[in-house]
Amino acid sequence: MNIVVCIKQVPDTAGGVKFNPDGTLDRASMLAIMNPDDKAGLEAALRIKDATGAKVTVLTMGLPKADVMLREAMAMGADEAILVTDRVLGGADTWATSSTVAAAVKKLDYDLIITGRQAIDGDTAQVGPQIAEHLGLPVISYAEDIKVEGDSVVVKRQYEDRYHMVKAKMPCLITALSELNEPRYMTPGGIFDAYDEKEVTVWGRADLTDLDDANIGLAGSPTKIAKASDKVAKGAGEKVNLDPTESVNYLMEKFREKHII
């Protein structure tokens, strides 16, 4: 069984987000990490590998420095790693990203594709389902639990107030939630192997033959980001001196005004 896990290198937003003066994200000053949902997806794949001996390939599209994240994935136990990197692929929105990633996945053998639910930098949750569309595969998003049964997967799919158990025949695509599991740590020996014994396969634009130029990079993106800015800081607090009922009414009115409730 072959599993392809799509992972993304994202800025670590845990310590706050920094912006450049022009409003774009200051990626250089923030630590880069493996997107948490993707890491859970990788762990799910590695557990299937532990149980069934599946082969796990990790794939990313990004800057050459994403190599570090792919080594991390291999140090956790992934068998192979592919980095899709090319200047012409930069500035992609979810359509261009999913077109490119799908073209890369087409070159691989796969029974199961796992992506994260969403990346913590873009927060769209679009790329996984779009890859499935490009490949003509069924998609199960928001996976809380994944089980392989013969040639099918049984997935617990999370909703706001319930879950569904969904069964799908492979090949299919699943998007994973970080609540799915606790990803394993690397081992020191795994880190040595990831650098000394294993290679990262690098693909550029020319390696992706089944891909139209109209669907890549900034030029191939239907959406463009017009402006980005930091959140407006909250002003000073307001003190109200009313009787309890009136205070509550006043508060509720303010909440409604700000669309909090």
């Binding site: 570090v68 991390e72 140090a75 394993r184 690397m186 020191p188 020996g189 650098y195």
Partner: protein
């Protein structure tokens, strides 16, 4: 030193593990009870940390000394006592075996230690033989295929839960001083082996320490480690590696105390502003950080020199241990000072760093012993 990408990833992994797994609850419990925590040990063993520096063929991870240093540093940055857990099999436990164990001994004793299934401890010190281990009085007398051991070892880290101990005993009773000493692998379940009560220590609580008492213990000759009468040199060589471990533990402890101090100095307000706005405080932080960085450079260079077989490695190990441990004590004292009265309360982390740091200038050779090693090396 600029780390390779491989070592950077190594550091990230150790840091992530320590920050996630070494919870305040575990640390408080260890400090209060002084007992060994099997759960966290098993977790460390699962990820191969018990064998970071041990070769792959003996169940280890095949890491170099720098990886081992990074592990100790990053673990101690969060919790110095938990750094000892992963350190022991890599240094004092595994060291003598790696130095002169037979293939059979390595498979039997080192492999399970590297995988965290068994504990091996290092038993050199005696009540009357500390900095002068050559004056030991534990004896081993040959009787056919066996050696009969009698004596008492003290301050043995990990003795209460150990499966095996590397015990040093005098085999040539005519010799004095460092000559005529041999090493034995003693199964702690053998008749005649017993442990004293765990010592009540100032710091590093959570890694029990006790005496090992040997009364007519019959050890088979196949458990003689290395050549007869020549165990002392191996002990000294093993201590070089152990000293790097203590240096790394000291460095991590100081780094942890510095980070706590920076955070506190920025947050704590007196006279209407954060205390970090006062040069009296901010210059202390600058001194602490500078000393830590100097120590780090010395330590990493020493780790590489050791792996490269540098003839000065032994002296460098002593320098690193001496400087890092003394530095950690200076830094931790300042960290308590910056915290003011709160720094004296157990709720605040620096109080534990301060107590834990105190052992570091003492065990695996006091600072004075390090000065002896360094000066002898300079004056030879």
């Amino acid at each position: 030193m600029i780390l390779s990408k491989e070592h950077e990833l190594m550091r990230k992994n150790f840091r992530n593990f320590a920050e996630t797994e070494f919870t305040k609850e575990i640390q408080d419990e260890l400090d209060e009870t002084g007992e060994f925590n099997w759960e966290i040990w098993n977790k460390m063993a699962k990820y191969g940390f018990a064998g970071t520096k041990i070769p792959v063929e003996y169940g280890g991870q095949g890491g170099d000394t720098l990886s081992y240093v990074l592990m100790n540093e990053e673990f101690a940055r969060v919790c110095p006592v938990l750094a000892i857990y992963a350190n022991t099999p890599n240094s004092l436990g595994g060291g003598p075996l790696l130095a002169c164990g037979t293939e059979e001994q390595l498979q039997k004793y080192l492999t399970p230690a590297a995988q965290g299934k068994k504990h091996i401890v290092f038993a050199l010190t005696e009540p009357g033989a500390g900095s002068d281990p050559g004056s030991m009085t534990t004896k081993a007398v040959q009787d056919g295929e066996y050696f009969v051991l009698n004596g008492r070892k003290c301050f043995i880290s990990g003795a209460p839960f150990a499966d095996y101990a590397i015990v040093y005993a005098r085999t040539d009773l005519q010799s004095k001083g460092p000559k005529g000493i041999s090493m034995f692998i003693v199964d702690m379940k053998l008749p005649g082996v017993s442990c004293g009560k765990p010592e009540h220590k100032m710091g590093i609580n959570g890694y029990p320490t006790s005496d090992i008492i040997l009364e007519d213990v019959r050890v088979h000759q196949s458990d003689l480690l290395g050549p007869l009468h020549k165990g002392y040199a191996v002990a000294m060589k093993t201590l070089d590696g152990g000293r790097i471990g203590v240096a790394a533990q000291s460095l991590g402890c100081a780094q942890g105390a510095l980070e706590e101090s920076i955070a506190y100095a920025k947050e704590r307000k007196q006279f209407g502003k954060p205390i970090s706005y006062n040069q009296g405080i901010s210059f202390m932080l600058a001194d602490m950080a500078t000393e830590i960085e100097a120590a780090r450079t010395l330590l990493y260079t020493t780790a590489q020199a050791k792996d490269a077989g540098d003839p000065n490695a032994s002296m460098l190990c002593s320098m690193a241990k001496y400087y890092c441990s003394e530095m950690a004590n200076r830094v931790c004292a300042k960290a308590v000072q910056i915290h003011g009265g709160y720094g004296y309360i157990k709720e605040y982390k620096v109080e534990r760093f301060y107590r834990d740091a105190r052992i570091m200038t003492l065990y695996e050779g006091t600072s004075q012993v390090q000065q002896i090693v360094i000066s002898r090396s300079l004056l030879k």
